[in-house]
């Protein structure tokens, strides 16, 4: 559905993307992770045909993004910070403008507001909405016309956990309905939870990509097992035949409170790969 091969993008002399390749099959959620300034928004703008690029092959829905006709671009749903709302219009009216443009029946605006939990605020002006409500309205606008591909640029950044969860539910629902979703985020947990596939973007290249659990397993250097026992002590074991017996005995004794393997979280992997915290500069 979305394919990139050796994509390069420069702003003047500053090379932001230095040869990126990936392939997102239809119906998948692809998560792009990376620190601030890594070029995530730039990549979305390229994929949606808003920005040109210097080198590489890019194909979205089987065409180069700059070749997509206006009609074909209507098959995108886009949510990004630089896509504004009509501040003087209510939620309903904001959606109504685009319902008209996308030939979506008007009654659908009510349904979609309900879907994103804004039915109470339907008549409220966009300028009076909280940050979370604005995000949900932008999301509603991106989804309204049941697009084939949805691009979400940091859909949950700076939101409270409830709103974040609500947005996750909506995103997963859209996936079930068959949408292909491309999202960027700073949030590792979010990526692990939502995405079929993720890529870590750092300094213009993908430093790692794959299924979230797979990546974590790949960086499980210690390969150990950690236990917390009922007497308050912690023990660690190697994952080998020698330890198996000890572990078995402890388990049989009934003293084991928790048992974990020590594969790292995505966050730790990212730290290891880039030498910087994802959210340090926010």
């Amino acid at each position: 559905m979305i394919r990139c091969n050796g994509l390069k993008k420069r702003y003047g002399t500053h090379e932001v993307l230095k040869g990126i390749s990936f392939d997102i099959p239809a119906g998948h959620i692809f998560g792009l992770l990376g620190p601030s300034g890594a070029g995530k928004t730039t990549l979305i703008r390229i994929l949606t045909g808003q920005l040109s690029y210097e080198e590489g092959e890019v194909s979205v829905m089987g065409k180069r993004p700059e070749r997509l006709s206006g009609k074909e671009k209507k098959g995108f749903g886009i949510m990004m910070d630089s896509f504004g709302l009509y501040e003087r219009f209510s939620c309903e009216e904001n959606l109504a403008v685009f319902a008209d443009l996308y030939d979506v029946p008007r009654k659908r605006t009510g349904e979609i507001l309900k879907e994103v939990g804004l039915e109470e605020a339907a008549k409220r002006k966009a300028s009076d909405l909280s940050k979370g409500m604005r995000s949900r309205l932008q999301l509603a606008r991106a989804f309204m016309h049941t697009p084939e591909i949805i691009f979400l640029d940091e859909p949950t950044s700076g939101l409270d956990p409830q709103t974040m969860k609500a947005i996750h539910r909506i995103i997963l629902k859209k996936k079930e309905e068959g949408c292909t979703i491309f999202l960027t985020t700073h949030n590792m947990e979010e990526a692990a939870k939502l995405c079929d596939e993720i890529a870590l973007l750092n300094e213009g290249t993908f430093v790692e990509e794959g299924k979230p659990e797979e990546i974590c397993r790949r960086y499980d250097h210690h390969r150990r097992i950690k236990m917390h026992l009922s007497d308050g002590s912690d023990s660690e074991f190697d994952r080998d035949a020698d330890s198996a017996e000890q572990i078995y005995e402890l388990l049989m004794s009934g003293k084991v409170v928790t048992i974990h393997s020590t594969e790292p979280t995505l966050e730790t992997v990212f730290l290891e790969l880039t030498g910087r915290e994802l959210e340090e500069d926010r």
């Binding site: 709302l85 009509y86 443009l101």
Partner: protein
């Protein structure tokens, strides 16, 4: 056509929410009617206020409205969303222009009620020509300005020249001689006669040159900046 209609519909919905622009639309027709009704001096020319405010209306409202609507849409980044929804730049500009022009025409029709019945159609027609030029000029500024602040600061001097110079020209012959190069002054002269009798070939050329200049600037601005 559908896209243009959506833009017009959106603007109509915004009319009563956007007070700064609503005031522009309502102020001049309202003022002219009130003044005509209230102030009646013996030696005052017929329909003095209607003619006075008509020219100010042409020189201010469409300019301000067109420039500020376009600049705001760029500044608030709603234009990008429209562009993604397959609205072409010309469709957006056409929709906005048609909207501003139409609202102004409603204002002109209201103003014309003070005139003699025989003059109304002529008056409104001339107003229409003036609005058209001003809308194009306003759109130029809207395309050129990065944001609403910049648009306002560019619109102000244009409005001053276009609407105040024809006003002062009636007190000062020199100003009037110089002001003939402005389309607003030309229209003012037409209103004074309420006919095209005194409208010479030179005047027609000046009016045409004004129109050409507006269109040229518009094309230039659009070529250079597009709607980004």
């Amino acid at each position: 056509m559908h896209n243009i209609m959506v833009i017009i519909k959106k603007q109509i919905r915004d009319t009563f929410k956007n007070l700064t622009i609503l005031i522009q639309f309502v102020l001049f027709p309202l003022m002219s009617i009130i003044m005509e009704k209230m102030i009646k001096l013996d030696n005052m020319p017929e329909h003095f206020f209607t003619k006075l405010f008509a020219v100010m209306y042409i020189g201010m409202a469409p300019l301000m409205a067109a420039a500020s609507i376009i600049a705001e849409e760029k500044e608030k980044n709603t234009l990008r969303v429209l562009r993604m929804a397959d609205i072409k730049p010309w469709q957006y500009l056409a929709g906005t222009g048609i909207y501003v022009w139409t609202i102004c025409m409603v204002g002109a029709a209201v103003m014309s009620t003070e005139l003699d019945a025989s003059e109304r159609l002529f008056f409104t027609g001339v107003m229409g020509v003036g609005f058209l030029l001003s809308v194009v000029a306003g759109a130029c500024i809207g395309i050129f300005a990065k944001n609403q602040m910049k648009a306002t600061s560019l619109v102000m001097p244009c409005m001053m020249v276009l609407s105040f110079v024809p006003m002062f020209s009636q007190f000062n012959g020199k100003v009037k001689d110089a002001a003939v190069i402005l389309y607003t002054q030309q229209l003012r002269n037409i209103f004074d006669e309420m006919s095209l009798k005194a409208f010479s070939g030179t005047d027609a050329v000046i009016l045409g040159a004004n129109a050409l200049l507006c269109i040229l600037l518009f094309v230039l601005a659009f070529r250079k900046k597009g709607l980004e």
